[in-house]
Amino acid sequence: MPSASALRLQIEHALEHRFPAALTPVQRTIRETAATGIAAVDDLLQGGLPVGAISEITGPVSSGRTSLALAFLAARTQEERVCAWVDAHDAFDSESAAANGVALRQLLWVRCRRSQAGLPKPASTARTWARPDFLHLDQALRATDLLLQAGGFAAIVLDLASTPAEYSARIPMATWFRFRQAADRTRCSLLVLGQEPMAQSSAAVVLTCTRPESPPAFQTVFAGCTYEVRTGRVAAHPSTPFLATQRKPPASTWSANAAWQRETSA
């Protein structure tokens, strides 16, 4: 009696000419990457964040998520590319962006708001999404969808960093699938800032940011901070095709200075 593996080989061999795609391994595409402008993070990601894909930057408050996103936008806008920041909680600080080197003229800032005064009724008809808690989230998702469909943006940051995880976890997976397709089609790097990963398999890269337990002590002024970043998921890595076998995700640390510090002191 033939063994199961032999039977399987026999069946595959018989059907190979009829269903070639089903029985041949899918070729993994190596995505183009764009440098974040932070050497430690670029080394960790072996080049930078992927172009035409979703990257999630997650972590708690004060873990360097926004600084990392601004550094990436600075690198992109200095290449004369156009970027967008969809700000669900109106938390974007333009002074910090300018200090990080973001060309503000190249940046489209969409400031969502909680109140609906003077605004047309949202397209979403679900009762849950019409609640004030979800209104800014609904606005942010719709704005991101529009920007992705418009095309031409090198990077779009969907800033849900201040959105509680229990709210952001309710974003339908279909939304992330749609965003992934649109980002791929328009070659746009979609950065999602959040407290927890949301996009699941739609995200090409998930970075988890943390702040070291013992922050550096300064004498009189708060002159900088050191952050730690780990790769939670890398779907299409340039050189190592699959990292799931690694027990501990690789990590890297990087430092950010205060905005008022001179370049020479960095």
Binding site: S62, S67, E95, N100, L119, P120, S162, C225, A258, A259
Partner: protein
């Protein structure tokens, strides 16, 4: 010298045509246009279907209302002026010399087309193309071509379609026309009728000297007109090029979709007229007269001049949807500024940027979602006030590389809390030691400060604050780095931003 050649455009029932040009939904309906002062309005113009229904000129409103399915519209001189401008622009596509010969109920003009044969082909071809252009603009007109000015004018007024009168055949072509086309006074018309003269052919056959002896010197001109030999000094009109469309509604319009239906047709016409001059539409000014005497004005300015009708209509739709009129609309006027068509040389290695026209629509949609003043580019203000900025409209500029750009070293970014959250602060030795933000308590691990700043004491919006950079831990064990501010004027502590 080139032989004279004229083409006459004659649009009968012009008040009705002008109104129906933008109301394509009524094109297959019987329509009568009422003129005069209410309640003594009478029919001044009507279309063919209305005539078939039994409507005639001079009927009162009451008489018209007895005819089933007859649509009654009110005459609009503004709409007629806009339609007349459209007709003259169509004519200007074929000849720069155009003379207006409009009559009471018809709009007519004569083109001097001498020497245009190499451009537009034989006279019949030119007439066919001219008629196609008029039809595309929503006007129905008859066209006559002749070497004599008056022959072309009279033949166009009396015949439908296209008529080309060969040279030296003017008298034959006009012979069958009634004497009424000359517009004679009642006395002369009666005299000629008693002589048995009813057509131009019979008038042309009369001896000239005897006619002048009995009817006066003007009779010689009538005879020459009837023979098609009266010379004419051409007086071309020079109307300034303006892109304006107007439509008055017979009943107040409340639905935006109905408004856009007419607006789409207007944009079509404006784009076609601008395109005929090799121009584009740089801006659109929307003016509505609202019920109750109020007016509504909005301006649409695309990033680049364009004649893309769908794109302009989308911008119009989004603008009206974002700022709906406060009352029903009585009339709609669209005026446009012409601009040079955009020509952008794209570089082979230039970075990808959003398409300007598509970006305009996207930004308009984003403004509809987030708010008018909440979409754009941030610009830092020239002040020391913390967190001050202003929003400017976003536009893709090519000169961004020339602007000064900050450092590339990573900097700690702030996440602003807008508006700043009020907190309860505990101080120890004049330094923050603990604070409470709503339901969360924090113990301050490190506090750096204070950094005092103040300004604008001379204005109505002064500020005087004390900033602290704080590293704190919550009861749950999470740590944060934040910016706390004490408003010195009111002695209130606020959570201004988080470092992130």
């Amino acid at each position: 010298m080139t032989a004279p050649l004229y083409a006459c455009i004659y649009a009968e029932e012009f008040p009705a045509q002008a109104l129906l040009r933008l109301r394509t939904d009524l094109a297959v309906q019987p329509v009568a246009v009422l003129g005069g002062r209410p309640p003594l309005e009478t029919v001044c113009s009507l279309n063919r279907l209305a005539r078939m229904k039994g409507a005639t000129h001079g009927m009162t409103r009451l008489e018209c209302e007895t005819i089933p399915d007859l649509h009654l519209l009110t005459r609009s001189l503004e709409t007629e002026a806009a339609a007349r401008a459209v007709m003259l622009e169509c004519a200007a596509q074929f000849s720069p010399r155009v003379e207006s010969v409009s009559e009471e109920n018809a709009c007519a003009c004569v083109l001097d087309i001498a020497g245009t044969e190499r451009l537009f082909g034989p006279p019949r071809t030119l007439a066919e193309r001219l008629r196609e252009a008029l039809t595309a603009a929503g006007l129905r007109a008859s066209i006559a071509v002749s070497a004599n000015f008056d022959a072309a004018r009279l033949k166009a007024a009396s015949a439908r379609g296209i008529t080309v009168i060969p040279p030296s055949h003017e008298a034959i072509a006009l012979s069958g026309l009634s004497l009424s086309v000359l517009g004679l006074s009642e006395d002369y018309a009666e005299t000629l009728a008693t002589w048995g003269i009813r057509t131009l052919g019979e008038l042309a056959a009369l001896p000239a000297s005897d006619m002048v002896a009995r009817l006066g010197p003007q009779a010689a001109d009538w005879r020459k007109i009837a023979q098609g030999v009266l010379p004419h000094t051409f007086q071309p009109i020079e109307d300034p090029f303006s892109l304006e469309e107007f439509c008055a509604f017979e009943t107040p319009v409340e639905q935006i979709d109905s408004l856009l239906f007419v607006g789409a047709r207007m944009i079509d016409c404006l784009a076609a007229r601008a395109g005929a001059h090799a121009l584009s539409l740089a801006s659109l000014d929307l003016h509505m007269q609202l019920d109750g005497g109020r007016t509504y004005r909005r301006a649409i300015r695309p990033a680049l001049p364009t004649v893309d009708r769908k794109f302009l209509l989308k911008l119009l739709q989004l603008e009206v949807a974002a700022h709906p009129p406060e009352a029903a609309v009585l009339s709609l006027a669209l005026s446009a500024q012409a601009g040079q068509s955009s020509k952008v040389q794209l570089g082979l290695f230039a970075p990808q940027t959003p398409e300007p026209s598509r970006l305009d629509v996207t930004i308009a949609r984003l403004k509809a979602i987030a708010g008018e003043d909440r979409v754009g580019s941030p610009v830092l203000e020239d002040t020391h006030r913390p967190g001050s900025f202003r929003m400017e409209s976003f536009a893709v500029t090519q000169s961004a590389s020339a602007q000064a750009i900050g450092s590339c070293t990573p900097r700690m970014a702030l996440r602003r809390v807008r508006p700043p959250a009020q907190i309860r602060m505990q101080l120890a030795e004049s330094k923050p030691s603990a604070f409470r933000d709503r339901e969360q308590s924090y113990r301050v691990a490190e506090a750096y400060g204070p950094w005092r700043s103040s300004g604008c004491w001379w204005s109505t919006e002064p500020w005087d604050s004390e900033e602290w950079d704080v590293l704190a831990e919550s009861n749950s064990g999470s740590s944060i780095a934040c910016l706390l501010v004490r408003d010195c004027a009111q002695n209130q502590w606020q959570l201004e931003a988080y470092y992130d």
